[in-house]
Symmetry: C2
């Protein structure tokens, strides 16, 4: 099993994902939110590339069964039902609902991953569930970190590195195939004793802290809080096989 | 002095470079070539965004005073005078010549850096000369790694991390301002005892090795082989202030 990792979706060509399992990571906070929402009974999550797409998708659906969520600059968008905090995606808000998710970095990363043969949504909160799914599928893997506005994000790289580390431990046939996969594993080794602290000190962690979302960061740092893995299917993330 | 680092030019907005000193790094091999060519007497280096631009620029100049250099997939381009090996840019080839340089990653990174207030071209071969120039200018710094086709390159991150490390050692007022700057410094600490080995084992190092350019990699890993720093001025790199 061949593993590549990308710190951002920028520049990922078809040859990097064709026939492979893409694993998308946006710790703060889109893929954490995706796991939480589906665990709380959301029917599906449709990522929207931008705000215009998000409202267009909503117009085509039964309004009573939809929650429109997302953020710009970390804040809830005017006219949206929900922001991008995992605490907003509780059972009351999302059970049996379609969630349309328009976030700055995560949505684009999921859509890029959706071009691969398989696509999974991963966060610290569902890392082992994602690992199990990757091993069950058995294809080569392209880990896509969402990053931040085209640039590197520490928290996504740490989760990617943790996944790399656990894949290597789980399967003797795993081999790392690009510089970034090795670097991410090394970063994880450096910070694994204090991941939550690293998240709080990251660029985006500090930004969210300033907006009053410190408890989101603590939540997003929890390893294996959930046992589900969102899977891409026909333009949406669901828990169905 | 505030320091940011970017693993690729993708996603660098104006706010990341306005009023700052951009330092562009493409170890294998564009910024190494730039330093070598100017040290060997080239009058100036004009980076070209693509092959079409490169030939257009040549057509406007006196053919006898121009060397057209660069690569695609690491190889010299048909019809070009020179490839992208530092050994080709010797005094006989470049003295008193204008070099037009069209490389896959480095040229675009230099052009991006050229949008900043100041722009310097850095490699291991001229690291201390670049450091001195940065300190003399005194502005905040944006280190732009060229990366490879929009993705991360170990060798550029290592040189960026070395520059970060030496800036911190040189000036108490230096502060790191993004995740990538810290990560690059950590990478440098991890590999500083065997930088040449890390370059040979990097994705692009292995690729160039397969093409027969192993000695280029060894050359590009030499710290402070040269004492000059190419400076951006009106669309070209020169040694003039």
């Amino acid at each position: 099993m061949n593993i590549r990792l990308f710190f951002t979706p920028a520049g990922i060509g078809d040859e990097q994902i064709n026939g492979r399992t893409a694993v998308v990571i946006d710790i703060l906070r889109a893929t954490t939110v995706a796991a939480v929402a589906l665990d709380n009974g959301a029917r599906e999550i449709i990522p929207a590339a931008n705000l215009g797409d998000a409202t267009s998708i909503r117009e085509k659906l039964d309004r009573s069964t939809v929650q429109l969520g997302g953020e710009r600059e970390g804040r809830k968008v005017e006219g949206f039902d929900l922001g991008n905090s995992p605490f907003e995606y509780d059972r009351e808000a999302v059970e049996n609902k379609t969630v349309i998710l328009a976030t700055t970095n995560g949505s684009a990363a999921i859509l890029k991953g959706g071009e691969a043969k398989h696509c999974l949504s991963c966060a610290f909160v569902n890392l082992t569930a994602t690992l199990d799914k990757i091993l069950k599928i058995g294809n080569d893997v392209s880990i896509i970190c969402a990053g931040n506005k085209g640039g590197f994000s520490l928290e996504d790289a740490l989760c990617g590195g943790m996944l790399v580390d656990k894949l290597l431990a789980a399967d003797n046939a795993v081999e790392l195939d690009n510089d970034a996969a090795f670097v991410a594993q090394g970063l994880y080794h450096k910070h694994r004793e204090n991941l939550e602290d690293a998240l709080h000190k990251s660029d985006h962690g500090k930004y969210l802290d300033n907006l009053g979302f410190a408890k989101d960061i603590t939540f997003c740092a929890q390893e294996d809080h959930l046992t589900i893995c969102p899977v891409w299917q026909s333009g949406r993330l669901t828990l169905q096989e």
